[in-house]
């Protein structure tokens, strides 16, 4: 067997699991390590023998992992100075430089120095040429994860588990045939065409799932590799404009999308009818759910259908690759290059919202993991637009609304909950009520596009018989950010 041993020389691995959830990644997955070897190959002058060795490696079956125990370091926000100040701005001086929040999730490795902290093991043995080439690449791989996570790497031929303190761990993403070529193409676009969005996605082996999930845990049709935009500056719209934001963002993407607009983006078929398949959802990210939350709108996320996310992650054909790149180009075009790279959403009476696409370092209120973790109990943050009008009056109206909401769960791939409680008010701190007090002006209610204008809105709490994985977005307004849920109860035993 071929094994790659990695020791983090300072005893700390700084790496996030995905750009979106902000949790530290441990152990680093084989596709990340493969990318590090490819970077070494490029730095060494792209030698053909080393290329052949990498192509041999990517054709192997996904490897097994043996990893040391770790404990996460407290995730805190540090403030780093950017480099975009102009010479006519006093903030170019170091002490006046504004600061941007950044986080560096890290895992402290509970193992001695001098030992391997991670072994990646393939059930194969290379010939001498491949082994020598791989060893040369490992010898110039200086970090895995953040650049401060310095490592030593070496390949060994291993007869089996070495009786070490390393424990088997799950392999979630690994290179596949064509991965090297894909990385080359993306890098070339990144550099030659100045395409900042040309970045590789994780090479998922199977559906990405939360750390607490078992293989049979129900999950919705919505993906988890969200594209997150945060409020950047200026006026911050109210959370009750969520559906307007969703509509505006979708329209903006349809404008910037190169080529024919796909159904998953527009939500309509080629003949103009509403799509029956899941499509892009645009959801608000708010300061809600904490005891002192005030419901401020912190950002917005684009949520792809889970099937599309998986399909793109595997990217087995050039068309898959091109489709994914087209979406990345549409996203990049949203930011107006002459204005500090911010995107502007014109929301009519709700103002103009200036937002900035986020990378790996996300504030807690912006992390998708917050909405995707497994839980048995879920509470609505934005009200659900019912699929039909309840016929009952009084208390019966709430019971009927609960039944309508329950029936909507299978539509997003979840089982019907064991219990649903519908209400005017949210169980999530900071979330505005589903409708304003009697006699209030219309603007105090939730703004909706015309298609949803007459749909009744209710908040609800869902209780499933067993934990389900998020995200949960329910009801007729689910693609516009209405019906967004937060996990609020017991999880799967994490």
């Amino acid at each position: 067997m071929l094994a790659l041993e990695i020791e983090w020389l300072a005893g700390v691995c700084v790496a996030t699991r995905t750009p979106a959830d902000g949790a530290p990644e441990w152990p680093p997955q084989p596709d990340r390590v493969f990318s590090a070897l490819v970077a070494s190959w490029a730095a060494r002058g792209e030698k053909s023998m080393e290329r052949a060795a990498l192509e041999w490696l990517e054709r192997l079956d996904p490897p097994c992992l043996e990893a040391a125990d770790v404990k996460p370091r407290t995730i805190v926000t540090a403030y780093v100075p950017p480099n975009d100040a102009k010479v006519t701005d006093i903030r170019i001086l170091p002490e006046r430089r504004r600061r941007q929040p950044r986080q560096f999730p890290a895992s402290v490795i509970l193992a001695d120095p001098g030992t391997a902290h991670l072994r990646i093991v393939w059930e194969a043995e290379p010939d001498e040429e491949h082994l020598a080439a791989l060893q040369a690449l490992a010898g110039e791989t200086s970090y895995v994860g953040h650049s401060s996570a310095l490592v030593r790497c070496r390949f060994v031929i291993s007869a089996g588990r070495q009786g070490t303190e390393l424990k088997p761990d799950a392999t979630r993403s690994a290179p596949y045939p064509g991965r090297l070529a894909e990385l080359e193409v993306l890098h070339r676009r990144h550099v030659e065409q100045a395409d900042a969005a040309a970045r590789p996605r994780p090479a998922l082996l199977a559906q990405e799932s939360g750390s607490t999930e078992g293989p049979d845990m129900p999950e919705s049709v919505f993906g988890r590799d969200w594209i997150v935009f945060a409020h950047a500056q200026g006026q911050r719209p109210d959370l009750r404009a969520a559906a307007v934001i969703g509509r505006t963002m979708r329209a903006a993407l349809m404008t910037t999308y190169p080529g024919p607009i796909p159904e998953w983006l527009s939500g309509h078929t080629a003949d103009g009818k509403p799509s029956l398949d899941p499509h892009l959802a645009v959801i608000p990210l708010a300061n809600a759910g904490y005891p002192w939350s005030d419901g401020s709108l912190m950002g917005v996320a684009l949520v792809l259908p889970r099937a599309l996310e998986t399909h793109w992650a595997e990217a087995r054909t050039p068309q898959d690759f091109e489709d994914r790149q087209a979406f990345d180009q549409a996203l990049a075009a949203l930011a107006e290059a002459d204005r500090d790279g911010l995107a502007r959403l014109k929301l009519g009476r709700w103002g103009c919202w200036e937002i900035e696409r986020q990378g790996a370092d996300l504030m807690p209120t912006l992390r998708p993991f917050r909405y995707c973790a497994a839980s048995r109990i879920w509470s609505s943050l934005t009200p659900i637009a019912l699929d039909r009008h309840p016929k009952s009056q009084g208390a019966g109206r709430f019971a009927e609304a609960a039944a309508i909401i329950a029936a909507g769960c299978p539509r997003i791939g979840l089982p019907e909950p064991a219990r649903v409680v519908a209400h005017k008010h949210a169980a999530v701190a900071g979330a505005p009520s589903a409708w304003p007090a009697g006699g209030s002006p219309a603007w105090q209610g939730w703004a909706r596009p015309n298609a949803l204008a007459h749909r009744p809105l209710f908040h609800a709490t869902l209780e499933f018989s067993k934990p389900v994985a998020g995200p949960i977005i329910l009801g007729a307004g689910r693609f516009f950010g209405l019906g967004l849920y937060l996990p609020t109860g017991e999880g799967a035993g994490a």
């Binding site: 020389l9 404990k71 926000t77 100075p81 100040a85 001086l93 170091p94 490992a138 900042a196």
Partner: protein, 406 residues
């Protein structure tokens, strides 16, 4: 004692150099230290330290971050700059001289203390012989440098290759060359007494068992109940005289009056502080300098020597990290050469030895064809000088300035 030739050999074949050094508070073992604080995730929550668990001598021990990787990099750069200014070493660097423009209150800013090093906006937009640096011959070469030929950066500002740099405002909207850091250093306090508390979400977090107190007794004895107004013209006892938008404030908001005592769970004691420093030789081997193997080897060995010198100079200048966080070295701390199989070999190196190796490495790199600059001096542009003067004038006239927001 480590020799130049041993370092040259190691730079070609080994994984890294590493040092694990123990430190103690300047006030003696057991004295309180104040690590950096970070904002709470809760609204109006108290600031906090960064705690973690490490395995030390096969035990899981609670530790606290005393100086981060980024902060240590800044201190190592400061130590090198200090040694260069004192002319103990020759160190190529770029300096923007504000003093030549009559701005004595603004210190000269070099490529070691600008936030983005050689690619910082201040250097980019300052003038070399009347021309913006980025458009000068040297500036153009620096901008065009890549990892397969980093010669220009080595010659002008080698610390950028050691501590890492990114031409973030380079060609193509921020897709300029990136040079990963080759040195990482971090200080943690080992064996820290902590308390477990539940936060508002019910999650258990750690906080220091130490306490920090604060208070102020006003020598003027101004009472809280005294009426004061603050407006556009500053503060006054009359609302009209305070200027537009004047509102009543407490004396403490104009820095008068008492501040009630406070007690916060900040500050730590620890068994010792541990500084772990690593210079990656594998990382240095990724750098190339457009020539043959001899030239590349000389450059990489020079950078490794620069890293060792940075550690030694920083030790010599002391570890005064922040208020009430002064550390001193405890005993010797041998370097170790880390091989790819994980085995290590101890290496002896003191300050004199580090300076000697650095000199030899510098000379060897020069012999290999590198044309090091010494101190490349730039002038700030007139418009920058103007706005700095205006800001100073406004501050002195008490017209107020903008507060920085994150």
């Amino acid at each position: 004692m480590l020799t130049y030739h041993e370092l040259l050999a190691a730079a070609s074949t080994d994984a890294a150099l590493r040092r694990r050094r123990r430190l103690q508070p300047a006030g003696g073992p057991g004295d309180k230290l104040f690590p950096p604080t970070y904002p709470s995730e809760e609204k109006n929550g108290p600031p906090r330290h960064v705690f973690e668990t490490r395995r030390i001598d096969k035990q899981d021990v609670t530790c606290v971050l005393i100086d981060s990787v980024q902060s240590q990099a800044n201190r190592l750069e400061e130590a090198l700059l200090e040694a260069a200014k004192a002319q103990r070493i020759r160190l190529p660097r770029v300096v923007v001289e504000f003093s030549r423009s009559g701005l004595n209150s603004v210190p000269d800013i070099s490529s070691l203390d600008a936030p983005h090093r050689i690619f910082d906006a201040i250097l980019r937009d300052s003038l070399l012989d009347g021309m913006p640096f980025r458009e000068s011959g040297i500036g153009e070469r620096v901008r065009q440098a890549k990892s397969h030929d980093a010669t220009a950066i080595l010659e002008v500002s080698p610390t950028a290759l050691l501590f890492g740099a990114w031409n973030s405002t380079g060609e193509g909207g921020g897709l300029g060359a990136k040079f990963a850091r080759a040195i990482v250093s971090e200080i943690v306090g080992v064996g820290v007494p902590v308390e477990e508390v539940a936060d508002r979400q019910g999650e258990i977090t750690l906080r220091s068992a130490g306490r920090r107190t604060g208070s102020r007794i006003d020598p003027l004895g101004i009472l809280r109940s005294v009426e004061v107004y603050k407006g556009e013209k500053g503060w006054d006892i009359s609302e009209n005289k305070a200027g537009k938008k004047a509102k009543k404030v407490r004396p403490s908001e104009i820095n008068h009056g008492n501040i009630a005592p406070s007690v916060e769970p900040l500050g730590v004691t620890c068994d010792y502080a541990l500084q772990v420093s690593v210079i990656t030789l594998a990382g240095l081997r990724r750098l190339r300098f457009g020539g043959d193997g001899t030239r590349d080897a000389a450059a990489r060995t020079y950078l490794a020597a620069l890293g060792l010198l940075a550690l030694a100079e920083c030790d010599a200048q002391g570890h005064a990290l922040r208020s009430r966080c002064d550390l001193v070295c405890e005993g010797e701390a041998p370097l170790e050469l880390v091989r790819f199989d994980g085995s290590t070999k101890p290496i002896e190196l003191n300050l004199d030895g580090a300076r000697e190796i650095y000199r030899k490495a510098f000379d060897a790199a020069s012999s290999a064809g590198f044309n090091f600059t010494d101190e490349l001096r730039l002038e700030p542009q007139d418009k920058l000088v103007h706005i700095v003067r205006e800001s100073q004038h406004k501050a002195l006239s008490d017209e107020g300035g903008e507060s920085e927001t994150a």
